[in-house]
Homo-oligomer: 246 residues x 8
């Protein structure tokens, strides 16, 4: 570490320097969303340390993604009292929340649609992330295009959303069909569901990038977090617009 | 060439040896479909030589695929009288036909659907090939999933076909949606229509191979010929079944 | 879930909404084949729930693919009495059948050929799927092209089939050789058998997509199910043709 | 074409059937944005035909993308009088506009940032598309990260936008840096600017999909159109939110 | 250039230093085969300079590969008298020979088999290279596996060869079938013949690397030269063995 | 299985039909080398069954490759007495031999060179295979190009060989350097040794396919067996040549 | 452009804003090397504008890379008098220099080695770039490993350099061999020289990234500029070290 | 092994021949850095043998990379007394050191920057390697571009370094931003941190190869060793330059 680092102290530069990490305490002010912890590839000690630093710096809620159940228990055991008490773990999306979910704000909602039952973990990661950032959500699960009547019977849910997160593996066709039905931005999430030429989700990713429907953008494979995050940013933009008008 | 080759003569082994090519005069008997000429990478001289050999060996109709307009003229100029007279060239699918198309046989039909206007050359290659092999065809063009009502309004055409050839570039989602609507085999043809991450048709190819609909098989990128050919083979199988019953 | 969903009830839209899944009860009517369960990535609970919903909606037979032996036991334990009694598991293709195989109908048959002993699981998945959908089958195993006399000695089996499913890993050359021998459609299944530059089956997949023989279409790597399914659809088309004629 | 097609007539199903194309006259009602023409792979005749059909069906403005200058002249020559008069072509983004750009609506703006001078055509495609759909735009060109002070000096433009379109080739790092500075969604557009291991834009595409900043989604390589389109959809969502509030 | 280089002089280190090239005058002694010139990416001036240097250093015959017809004329015009007189150009394999082909030595022969007419340029490059290095050749052209009787009727040519060069594009199955028939090494040459998923010859390359037949090795796509070269090295090894015995 | 199969009997067509396998009893006569068993993906039962069939049909020696130690014990336990006694297992190359290695025949030798210690398993697979087919071998291990004096000090071993098998992972440069030193064919074996951008051996494979040295051909990644096999075929060709002369 | 931009003026933020470009006038101070112009994808007008801005801001020398001869003439015609006079174009590396090359400073030198004659354009780009940044150079051309004595005879040139730039296409083995001989950093430049499985330089790139020699780092395919640049930075570091000592 | 090998003896050719390995005892003299052991794919016995041979040949310090903790214990147990005593293992970088780290020499330092906490193992491998070769180091950890103020607050550490090692996974943007800030060479290390479209580090690798900043070269994915090694070689070059001047 360079010499001017004060271990564990809140640096005036807008981050805490823990040596192994520099949690960004300026992020909420800068981007409207507080620092989130990506759990993969970090030890339980490191995660607990970062949670402590963020909460110590005044952050109300902390989201930890990509955390398996065993490491979650370990992290919880390492946290300070109040943090440990407010620690909640959800199995399907492999997410931990410290400080609880906020109340959704406003009447807009993000619609989370997924093609098959195997896509649920990713869809739930998107849904919980959006909720953590203040959005209301509506879930449409197992509405893949092989039985397109299932999707068409929910046309109103899609038409009324502020954004749609479309989650699908295999050929990822859901995104294009939804894209042709929606008035709002569609954020497509390819999943690694499939085998062989699905190439771990590359097939769905390429499919979504080449969507013949126009309002579709794409995040990384299995990145439910990123899609839920951007959906919430759209809600934030809408709220700012409404406030300017209101 | 090995010594036992008799130049240009019909070998008793079931092919004509032209040195640069050995047209297969046994193919119709073996597979039910006479030899077809793949025009790319052959000179006009070679193509004309092969046409001559096949017609000389008694083949009634010859199909030449992947032939550009200039080479087609050159080939026509090199053919013997009767062959030149019966030579017909079609621009969109870049196909030449010597000996004319046969009358379709029976009331079954192959449905050729394509996603966009840019897919027409491939769709037409499929249609003409199927017609050359005796099938009746119904064409549904520009029915991509971004405006899915266009496809749904033709549900009867799909329901009644003996097979559907689904032609699409970009994300190739058409194949999955059709696959969920059809009773018959769907043969999917990815096209190279698109740019960037379409990777020259690889995106559509992978998409179709990973279709969440079950009755979909796939041929090479832009291989309208192969799809039309297999669709006709299905018709041939149906005819044999009907004849056994009849 | 959107509000109009009635949990577990048969929706008039043609599916049952279980929250985590929406089994398609309209599929048989629409496509001629009832809903099939893809077992990978679903929990035993979810699978048992879907089986129950389909059987409850009147579906006679249910096929579950990609199910390992342990999860199969677990599923069986969760099923209702009659469903559990009629549950049968097959190790090699990792398939479960609820409600038994139907009697094959008619004298046509699907020929399932595979290149090597290591390809058996995929070949059996194709064979059992086709049988489940009502087709008769003939199996030709370990007939790879390195000893081509093994294949040639079965030329009659290939010539007489309504379709051939050609299963091969490594270089996948079997499909092309069979394609040059057959009168009927050849559905090629690349397998992940091989190592190094086989790239998990991509080499065989590309090989089959580029087959120099004309009547060959391809399904995903290791997708015996998809090939058996399409072979059965061809048989269905033949039966419809024969019935129209008869 | 299937029999029920009335050539050139407005079908009650919500499209015009031109045989080679079925322009979607229901799109504006369904998605809030009228049909756009993708010019690549279509002949001038086809493009002119589609423009005519859309304008005939009452569409006020038509955008044609991926149109080179020569084909643009040809199209203009083929159009009916009023359409030809209102036809405008822009060289850099290779876009034609029929019917003029609308006045931007509201005080929100889309910020279009690009990394280098060679990215201008894509950035301009995004900007004009967003303007065509009613958005106001602010352009920040040549602000790549190798001289990051150029970007940092425009922090206010980024902070105030409703969305940022970040356009970059080579390593595409601009998207991540902008993502760390913005409160709003960032739509990243990889470009094919670069050589060698840029793989025609794949390097930038992968980079953007893996952005360590959270609010970034991605469109296809060189797809300025798609990014501008989604940026405008976000503005539309904001307007709807403001109207609900207002 | 480093200072100790004597421009154009024969360096005692076993090469001539021309600045832009250092032709290897020691190669024949070291490897049994004299220096060959790869014509692609060199100017006519450079090629002529290297020919002059090699001939000046006593090399009897010079082979130039990958030389198009126009550059060949230009090179010939730049050569010294005797070299220009002994310069011969062959169109199909795009090869130039200075000093003529040697008489084949011994009764062994290399069998060059290719799958289709479009593979001829590569097959001829292999054949002429082998002949240039002293081998006798037998050509079997257009013996692809879609009509396998054509290949089987030449089983004796394959059985009697010292090595077989198997040239094929598309799926490259020829190599495996030949590999199952031959007693000798098979050198497989994938070609770029094909389209779409042939990926410029990658499909055939992977296919050949994964051959289920055991005695098959592979060279680069379209590298007829390399295959002919190695076939000749096998003949050289056989000659040395025979001489040791004789 | 098709009906004409006689289970376990030696079919007059030149193979034994075991249902799950058809061991090729005609291979030695046809190719000069008896059937070899690829152990991966076969059960111990299947392997033992094939060994029994081959030995029962008179094959003296059987080689089993890609066999891990546990399965080897299991196979040995399942073999008939004499076969089990003559069963020998080698750990490094994961090979089993039934019936012992033959005496090498003649004074020629195959030189097996490998770049690093981690390449030993593949190099030993090549060496034992060549020995099993009657070749004499010389091993040069850990002679990678980073310390090229190690290789240069063995120049005589390379110069005197009938062929060189060059085994290397990482960048695979050994093949090119050996190719520039050898008079005989070089068979290059890329290995999966490496990490990251070695892509499981693809880097070494591509490197070897693009060797700037001319007499180099390549086998699949980690395919020591294939390289040893082809090296032995070259020795066989040399012996036949010497016998013709002698 | 955002409103605060003063067209063409030197902004106090350390760049000139030309609208289409923001040349970085702070770069020399920050990185020790003044702004360089990447010529590809820029119009002659744009290039001339940037040259003018940089020279106007006091930059003595300007390097323009990837500039073809025709555009170079055009640029020269558009420059102001003094700039046009000091404009020099070099064909092989396709580089233009405005303001001349500086005198090399110090006795250190960069050694530029390339494998073959076809690699000269890239090698020269590296050499001229290093010279432009003040380095002395020694060129070793056509020293590929197929005739390794050519390289070994220049061992002293390599041993004495401050860094070696190793330029090679095809399999790129030169980098590893040089890496095993050098005391200094080796900067490897893969080139697109080759065909087929060279994949436009990817084979050489992967090879160099996996070098078994330890002191090798790599730049993009054909990026002679980047390698020369980094070689010069090493010289700069050495000079600073010497000055601190001196 | 070829016959002239004396097992375990120090060969006069500059290496020790252990049969399974030929440790290079000439490397320090030739390259300035003694032989290093790559631990992956070697047995503990082999590693201990090589350590013994190198120390026996007089090498003071031995570095072993890619060694997991269990194998490290095993190696230590197999070493001779003095070697075992001087054996030290570090968990994070998975490195063992025999003979201790040297004192850093001079006042220059290598700056090691990494983007995130998950990159620490690779960053530490780089740091320890550089220290082992005599360099002083400064570590900047978790300074990724999503919170760029963390990096900018360390601008002086970067400005003063002799080289910067920039370690990052995901999109690897750190290298470009650092490249735009540094006066010295930047050696970029992509890591395999990430998921989905990070493709095991390929995304970061491509990103770094395409850096828009000029002084950046790249090593293999996760190759901290290679980067630390080259950084130290730059320090060595600086020391030689200073000594020449001093």
């Amino acid at each position: 570490m360079s010499e001017e680092t004060i271990d564990g102290g809140v640096s005036p530069q807008g981050y805490v320097d823990l040596g192994y990490a520099k949690p960004d305490t300026q992020r909420e002010e800068r981007t409207g969303v507080a620092e989130v912890i990506y759990g993969a590839g970090k030890t339980a000690d490191q995660i607990a340390g970062i949670v402590g630093a963020l909460r110590g710096a005044g952050q109300e809620r902390v989201l930890i993604t990509r955390l398996d159940a065993d490491k979650a228990s370990e992290v919880q055991g390492l946290l300070a009292n109040r943090d440990a008490e407010e620690f909640e773990y959800r199995d399907t999306p492999r997410i931990a929340i410290v400080g609880g979910l906020p109340e959704p704000d406003g009447d807009a909602y993000v619609c989370i649609a997924c093609a098959g039952t195997s896509d649920l973990p990713v869809a739930e990661e998107a849904a919980v992330t959006a909720e953590m950032l203040g959005s209301r959500t509506v879930r449409l699960y197992d509405v893949g295009v092989a039985g397109i009547h299932r999707l068409l019977s929910h046309a109103d849910d899609i038409a009324g959303a502020s954004s749609v997160v479309a989650v699908a593996g295999m050929e990822g066709a859901l995104a294009s069909v939804v894209g042709g039905m929606a008035k709002c931005p569609v954020i497509a999430v390819p999943t690694s569901v499939g085998y062989g030429a699905s190439l771990g989700g590359i097939a769905a990713l390429l499919s979504m990038l080449n969507s013949c429907a126009s309002g579709v953008s794409v995040v990384n494979i299995d990145n439910g977090f990123g899609a839920g995050y951007q959906a919430a940013l759209i809600d934030h933009a809408c709220k700012r617009a409404a406030e300017r008008r209101g």
